[in-house]
Symmetry: none
DNA sequence: ATTTTTCTGTAATCTTTGTTTCAGCCCGAT
DNA sequence: ATCGGGCTGAAACAAAGATTACAGAAAAAT
């Protein structure tokens, strides 16, 4: 389908054919990057100090049906100009067959990531990173049925970077004990995407009641925990699948890990060195059970 | 003169207070950089699949007089945004756009995914999906220190989709027992990225010796297990961080889940229904332990 | 100076819009 | 099972919108 000409270009091309007041109008449109054309015809007429019929006539001269038609075109042009993807994942698809699962998946994921980031408040991100990097705050991570592995991933890294990190067991029966440790200085990091789990909300509420700070990772539909959360990260999760995708969520997690690591690089370097040592040591332990060498 | 808050920021701030359909609307606005909000209220309502009163209610919640007032604000915001073609990352952010952690991270991740897919053999992907979708094959998942949560994520889904899926414990001491179950028809799915772990290779070798098929997820440098693997997926993992990123790996996992699910949708539907039932039932179990409701 | 042509805005019209009211609905609590 | 509270959209309405027809004004041609 041959793409319609840009309104901007139309204005330039037809400029010669325009009458005085039409030109006045065109100038106003061009000055404002067409945006003034998104007002009502009345307001636009006032801005340009012309009458409304003049506007209709210009629209017709440009080849449109009427003002509404012109405005639709302008809106479409503006929308195109506004969207400049932060990072363009290749949606053309890496493989020729556009309908392969992978291809569709990547398109969806690329979309999810872009949209998630558009919605993200970098200031909030930094604030949370600050909290997570503070070794005086105890961190407790909690995930739902599916998101538990995301929590675990986060936990794996945080635990190496800093002290005082706990992964709450998936069995709700042990949560009450865990609550004992959650007090004023504590931070509860919860993952809750649909289908939202009652138990998570309950625990978050209780933790909140004890003065804990709540960091929530959820989807855009909004977990009920949002109400109690001090910080909320919302990720897009929809993909062409029966399941939701936690990739955008994982991106946030990894970025947070990187940021927290960066903020504590000096102190965590020692921890990591110590860990490497212990891993080395553990070869000795392991040698008894199969991995001989 | 104190500048009015940006509509975009208002949407983010108030998100927690919004109802379901208001959120749907907010999502449409955010996705389109607010531009959809420049249509008439009727058209906008159709785009977002909500009613016009919902739009008015959202406008009021954001602190505007009504839709027209909101639209004026949007038009003004859009006009501002059009003037600066390249201010993409949040101006509220503390640092100039390009060097925020998120920005650099996303660039790297986008790169990783693209390059991972370039290297990927779709035919191999389909072959593996076929194997994983075959209920007669027993599946055993195994991850390393970091990748264990990726294995767990994969496991969570596979287990729901089909029978005969096992997640091998992280403790090497119990692996010998697990090996008893791994025989000719079995499939071992191993995750091994740097730093490659000796134990994983050992287990893979042994499993292979017993006739198991090995599916390996690794990075492009190549785990030593590649030698023994029947299928290898190589993902790019480098990001501006002290840690590697498993996002590209996760993408493959999720795509595989989707594909396997699609191939077994008929039979897995029953499983999922049964699961939903059991989740419903479990409310009864749960009611006794603190989550009194 | 008169006529013709072209341009422009006023006023009347018909359409669409934005707002309000209200009843049904779903969901959670009792 | 029943009740209440909040959410949602259908319908009715007043307000504003866009369009048309027409007449006065300005410029060009004779």
């Amino acid at each position: 389908m041959g793409r319609r000409k840009l309104v901007r270009d139309l204005l330039r091309e037809k400029q010669a054919d325009l009458t005085a007041s039409e030109r006045k109008l065109a100038a106003v449109l061009q000055d404002g990057q067409l945006v003034p054309g998104l007002q009502s015809i009345t307001k636009l007429a006032e801005s340009a100090e012309v009458s409304t019929p003049t506007i209709v006539r210009l629209a017709r001269k440009l080849g449109f049906d009427g003002f509404n038609d012109l405005q639709d075109a302008i809106r479409s042009d503006v929308a195109d100009a506004m969207k400049q993807p932060l990072a363009k994942l290749d949606p053309g698809g890496p493989m020729p067959g556009g309908d392969h699962m992978l291809s569709r998946f990547v398109t969806a994921v690329s979309d999810n990531i872009n949209r998630t980031l558009e919605r993200l408040d970098t200031a909030a991100f930094d604030r949370v990173a600050g909290v997570l990097a503070d070794p005086s705050r105890r961190l407790h991570l909690l995930g739902g049925r599916i998101t538990r592995s995301n929590a675990a991933y986060f936990f794996n890294h945080l635990q190496i970077i800093r002290p005082g990190v706990t992964l709450l067991d998936s069995a709700p029966s042990v949560w009450p004990q865990a609550l004992l440790d959650i007090d004023g200085g504590a931070v509860l990091i919860v993952f809750d995407i649909r289908r939202y789990e009652k138990g998570l909300e309950k625990l978050a509420t209780l933790a909140r009641g004890q003065g804990a700070e709540i960091v929530l990772f959820t989807d855009i539909w909004g977990s009920p925990i949002e109400r109690h959360a001090d910080h909320t990260f919302r990720a897009m999760v929809e993909v062409p699948s029966a399941w939701d995708s936690t990739l955008a969520l994982n991106l946030l997690i990894e970025a947070l890990i990187a940021e927290v690591q960066a903020r504590r690089s000096d102190s965590s370097a020692q921890r990591i060195a110590a860990l490497e040592d212990m891993i080395g040591e553990s070869r000795i332990f392991r040698s008894g059970q199969g991995a001989a060498d």
